[in-house]
Subunit: 338 residues, 2 copies
């Protein structure tokens, strides 16, 4: 008998999410039915979108059910299979949730995919060569569609998505300005990832200060914004957008705890003829193959760099997740489950 | 010697525009140089965009110069020509400004175009078969791209742009909800223009009240918003947008006097994966011929209806313009100059 430790949603947050919203459980792994595959999860991905799922509110996905394992991307290894397409030892990526083992109905399209972990590390399929990397690709290449010489701004720049956005934009010949929290993250973004500049937003807590920093870093104005944060950052960058600028709205992490963060001067959207588009990467499935091909090639050749923050053990997931929401991670936040 | 009466910008508004911002002048019409054409303007178009030009602020066009004739579209008749392409008696449309006579450098591309006033009334080239009509066409057909059965909302619905938006949307098989100020305008929008419903926004001054009215008029939610007004209306409609909704941002007349009107909950743009695009019609010149062809056909056949508010004489233009900004016009606001 195999025991499976997992984290379930114990209660919905009232405002800020806390450890009390989660509960660690231990349950027995059931016997497999025909067509099922048992996966031992090696890595769990923690991502900001999970915070929105915890609310019982209108959003793009159904809310996370209370008492059920938290939703989440996983990378692992097949340990038992009753499906012809999979065999013990296969390395796979799927939505296994916050748990050590997952029983996957392998016949469901998109439930799981095999990946080659011989060149690219398995964990990278949860980051640069996975959902966050494709998110960066879709928002930047498909929606912003940057041209060489344009100035692109991305916030949460040292994170899994932001770091890929900036490096992809550099590969297209853009000027790239990141925003990140702290001198160490900013140094990493410029020195290791190759951004042209990075603004430590923690040093600029009001509009005038942040706007002055952006003017210094992006003297030609901003042509494309990849927005993960919202709030003050969005309002400041909006005020510096050039005509025909594009905004890919990927996340608004600054407002996930409840308080709406207004766009204070929406006339700029009109006067600068901006295009703003909200998106989620799972609704652009036709773009995934091309995106993964480019991202996989860049990671394999070492041209696309990334960094991971790794928490150890399933019990550490809630605290690591709350830290992610506060920006305490540095790079892609993972939980190592083995 | 011919005298030309004209209205110039006397001073920029401090907040709300007033009559003191304008000055009536009388100047002599100069002799024509080679390539010039003298046009006697029959109709002057008054449009909300002019209010933004009066400010000395970052916008899509240079501010209106102080002491110069106010910018504006005109329809008139050639009275003298020193350009081979034009002859006395030609009916023409151009940007003649707030004045009785305009000297046009006819060789400048786009300075003026000849129109056939035998079937379509000359004034319609300033409305349904002119800039406002093409604005409606570009925002609705090109940006919102409505599908049959979708619900489209447009505000300032009895105006030159809004009335064309709604009728074009009906021609595409959409459910169409207008917003207008007053019972008489709403009755016109539904009974004469054929919208499915019209909300008198003056009866709904807060979010909850307007939202309830919209829920009643658009029980399936909103797929496309053609936005002329901004402020409360934009926030309410945004809260009722369906997934993958499109917003064509054409104007924000509620904020032209200075106070920014925030988008209070921009997370909706993300959670509903909305596309919002600001635009001005003069930057979509490639779409004009197709749009004018459809609009001209619909007006000639009586399928596209419009209404005009006509002020008499150039001296009446400032007051008519201020009334337009307050929504006192009913349909396309014109000034008759002959």
């Amino acid at each position: 008998m195999t025991l499976n430790q997992r984290i379930v949603l114990a209660a919905r947050p009232a405002g800020e999410a806390t450890l009390d919203n989660f509960r660690l459980e231990s349950v027995e792994v059931p016997a497999l039915a025909d067509g099922q595959v048992l996966v031992r999860n090696h890595h769990l991905s923690l991502d900001p979108y999970m915070r929105m799922r915890m609310n019982d509110a209108k959003s793009y996905a159904a809310p996370q059910a209370i008492g059920e394992p938290m939703i989440g991307g996983t990378a692992g290894e097949v340990v038992e299979s009753r499906h012809d397409g999979y065999a013990a030892g296969d390395t796979v990526v799927g939505m296994g949730g916050w748990q050590q083992y997952t029983v996957v109905n392998a016949a469901v399209p998109g439930a799981m995919r095999k990946v080659d972990a011989s060149v690219i590390p398995l964990s990278a399929y949860l980051g640069a060569v996975g959902m966050p990397g494709v998110t960066a690709w879709v928002g930047l290449i498909h929606l912003i569609a940057p041209k060489a010489g344009e100035t692109i701004v991305v916030d949460a720049a040292s994170g899994a998505v932001g770091s890929a956005v900036g490096q992809l934009a550099k590969s297209r010949g853009c000027q790239v300005v990141g925003l990140a929290g702290g001198a160490d993250k900013c140094a990493y973004v410029v020195d290791e990832l190759g951004f042209d500049a990075c603004i430590d937003y923690k040093q600029h807590r009001d509009f005038a200060s942040l706007a002055a920093a952006l003017d210094a870093a992006a003297p030609q104005g901003v042509d494309g914004l990849f927005e993960n944060v919202g709030g003050l950052i969005l309002n400041v960058v909006l005020s510096r957008m050039n005509a025909f600028g594009r905004i890919a709205l990927c996340g608004m992490i600054s407002g996930y705890d409840g308080q709406p963060m207004a766009i204070t001067d929406p006339r700029l959207l009109l006067t600068q003829r901006l295009k703003l588009q909200g998106f989620i990467v799972s609704e652009h499935m036709s773009l995934w193959p091309g995106a993964l091909k480019e991202l996989g090639g860049l990671v394999a050749s070492g041209q696309l760099k990334y960094r991971e923050s790794v928490a150890q053990g399933i019990a550490a997931a809630p605290e690591a997740f709350l830290g992610l929401l506060k920006g305490r991670n540095f790079g892609k936040q993972l939980v190592k489950l083995i």
